[in-house]
């Protein structure tokens, strides 16, 4: 297996983008899941549809929408441009693309975790003197840890594989915005680079296996802890 310095940069960038996207999405994912599971409000269905939309939309479409939003003439793009923060064609755009595409997976897992909490545990906590935010921190958060872990690893894995939205908003610039899938795409288009493509594929497989193992181990540990 041979890896060029560009390949190594792509691996690091992939990990950095996936990790940042997951970390950035986590608090929002938790808050949205909590809103959907525990709060009653108008327009809940609309929110659910919006959250889940990236799951069914082609990633290219999401990338295009993001480009419209973050581009020089987009609503957010204009503001960012005025503040001197470039987004499009930087690694930050790759983070936003990954976060948007992986977000529904994260919310779904956390939601499943929260829905499995017995409502009476929450009622017990409230009647014992805990305010809603106290119950959120001491009961809901620890009891949905498995869902949070599952959601995070799913989102991390999805971010590693993100291609369609990323190539539109971040481009495919080696060393700057080129992640593993984009690099493989480059190699695959030239017949002489099959071995190079295969090397990166191997790296992808290794990272995925490690993510899955960590996910399983953490899941088991949490299960053991709650069974003690």
């Amino acid at each position: 297996m041979t890896l060029t310095p560009e390949d190594i940069a792509a691996i690091w960038l992939s990990l950095k983008v996936a990790l940042t996207a997951t970390a950035l999405a986590l608090p929002f994912g938790f808050a949205i899941a909590w809103l959907i599971v525990f709060r009653r409000f108008r327009g809940k269905v609309v929110l659910e549809v919006l959250i889940n939309l990236p799951l069914t939309l082609p990633p290219v479409v999401i990338g295009f929408f993001l480009l419209l939003l973050l581009g020089k003439n987009g609503w957010i793009g204009k503001l960012l441009d005025a503040s001197g923060i470039p987004i499009i064609f930087t690694w930050k755009a790759a983070v936003i693309a990954s976060a948007t595409v992986g977000f529904p997976l994260l919310v779904r897992s956390i939601r499943l975790g929260m829905e499995s909490i017995d409502q009476q545990l929450i009622e017990a906590s409230r009647s014992l003197g805990a305010a809603w935010y106290d119950t959120l921190a001491t009961i809901i958060l620890p009891l949905s840890l498995r869902g949070i872990m599952a959601g995070s690893s799913l989102m991390f894995a999805r971010s590693l594989g993100e291609f369609g939205a990323t190539i539109i908003v971040a481009g495919n610039i080696p060393g700057i915005t080129q992640t593993i899938p984009l690099a493989i795409y480059d190699y695959a288009s030239s017949p002489s680079s099959v071995t190079m493509a295969l090397s990166l594929c191997m790296v992808s497989v290794i990272i995925s296996v490690v993510v899955l193992i960590v996910h399983e181990l953490l899941g088991k540990k949490l299960h053991r802890r709650s069974a003690l």
Partner: protein, 351 residues
């Protein structure tokens, strides 16, 4: 404790409409399942908001739609003991017990954890995980957790329903003792007349979402006698028996009762169904039943097609049940003398 509630709550097609004013330390809320008892618990504790109305606890307004008051559950200081123990699975027994205590203001902390742990005999459980407790132990910890929150009122929402008979009667003394020991009034919610007889002094009966009547446990047991499969349950607190030919001879006032299912030492609680008592106008010559008590009829009451006969045997009262035609045949009136025959096996030990 005084609880005034005049509230309405619609849930789907079910409408709860309660207007009650009850005072006392041990109040029972009785109703069949689906009558609205649980909704009432939720309204009182603040876990559910009434559509309109008001709720006052000891003259403090907990909810009033007119005054726009709705105290949040954590500020009401009303702790709940649920049907299932509902211990927090990620916390230890100790952390569960102290959950409410830690959130209670210092000036309200009248009950100390050490005292409660002793009374509920929780010491051996402290180091165990909540998953390694039996059903009864879990319920004891849940009770302790609720009491340690130093509530003004304890809501016991069918706390015995999930337990088997043996455990149920082991837990009852704990439920009563914590309330008496620490002076916490309680609302005891149940669909069991027997539990009402054991736990409550006044009873609010809920039927189809509204208040049917306010009554006493004895009155409730009397009116439900005909519908209840076991009739009227006589509860006898007996102690220190003498063993006699494989039976236990318990003193009961100036009488002696022979019971098969006794306990060699200490106090026991027995139930005796009104349907297990046979009445004779004259002294029967020879019968197989081991208990024959000469009694005076002190009162007669009707429950549907049946007649309840309140008897006094040397001052100890109990209720027997006969059909109306039998009452007419025997010509039973207040003051008549009857002989009550009870088999030694008819007494069921509860705890």
């Amino acid at each position: 404790m005084n609880l005034r509630i005049d509230a309405e709550k619609k849930q789907g097609s079910f409408l709860l409409q309660v207007n009650a004013d009850v005072s006392g330390e041990r109040i029972g809320i009785f109703g069949r399942s689906g009558s609205g008892k649980s909704t009432l618990v939720h309204l009182i504790s603040g876990l559910l908001e009434p559509d309109r109305g008001e709720i006052y606890l000891n003259d403090e307004c907990l909810f009033s739609s007119a005054k726009c008051v709705n105290l949040s559950p954590e500020r009401r200081r009303i702790a709940i003991v649920f049907q299932q123990a509902m211990l927090f699975p990620h916390l230890s027994v100790k952390a569960n017990l102290l959950y409410g205590y830690r959130r209670c203001r210092a000036e309200n902390r009248n009950i100390k954890p050490e005292t409660l742990i002793t009374i509920l005999k929780l010491q051996p459980l402290m180091q165990r995980g909540v998953h390694n407790l039996s059903g009864g132990e879990k319920q004891r910890v849940a009770l302790g957790r609720a009491v340690l929150a130093n509530p003004r009122l304890l809501l016991m929402d069918e706390p015995l329903s999930a337990l088997d008979d043996t455990l149920r009667f082991q837990i009852i003394p704990y439920l009563k003792s914590v309330s008496e020991e620490f002076g916490i009034p309680y609302l005891f919610i149940s669909h069991s007349i027997l539990e009402m007889q054991l736990m409550a002094e006044r009873i609010v009966v809920i039927k189809n979402g509204s208040l049917a009547e306010t009554t006493t446990p004895d009155q409730l047991a009397r009116t439900s006698m005909a519908q209840s499969p076991k009739g009227y349950l006589n509860l006898l607190h007996l102690a220190d028996p003498v063993q006699n030919n494989g039976l236990y001879a318990y003193p009961w006032g100036h009488n002696t009762l022979l019971i098969s299912d006794g306990e060699a030492k200490g106090k026991s609680l027995f139930e005796l169904s009104s349907r297990d008592i046979i009445l004779f106008k004259q002294h029967p010559e020879a019968i197989s039943a081991r208990n024959l008590l000469e009694c005076t009829v002190t009162e007669l009451f009707r429950s549907d097609v049946r007649v309840g006969v309140v008897l006094s045997a040397n001052g100890e009262k109990f209720v027997a049940e006969i059909v109306r035609s039998a009452a007419e045949d025997l010509n039973i009136t207040t003051g008549s003398t009857l002989f009550a025959a009870i088999k030694a096996s008819s007494f069921r030990k509860l705890g």
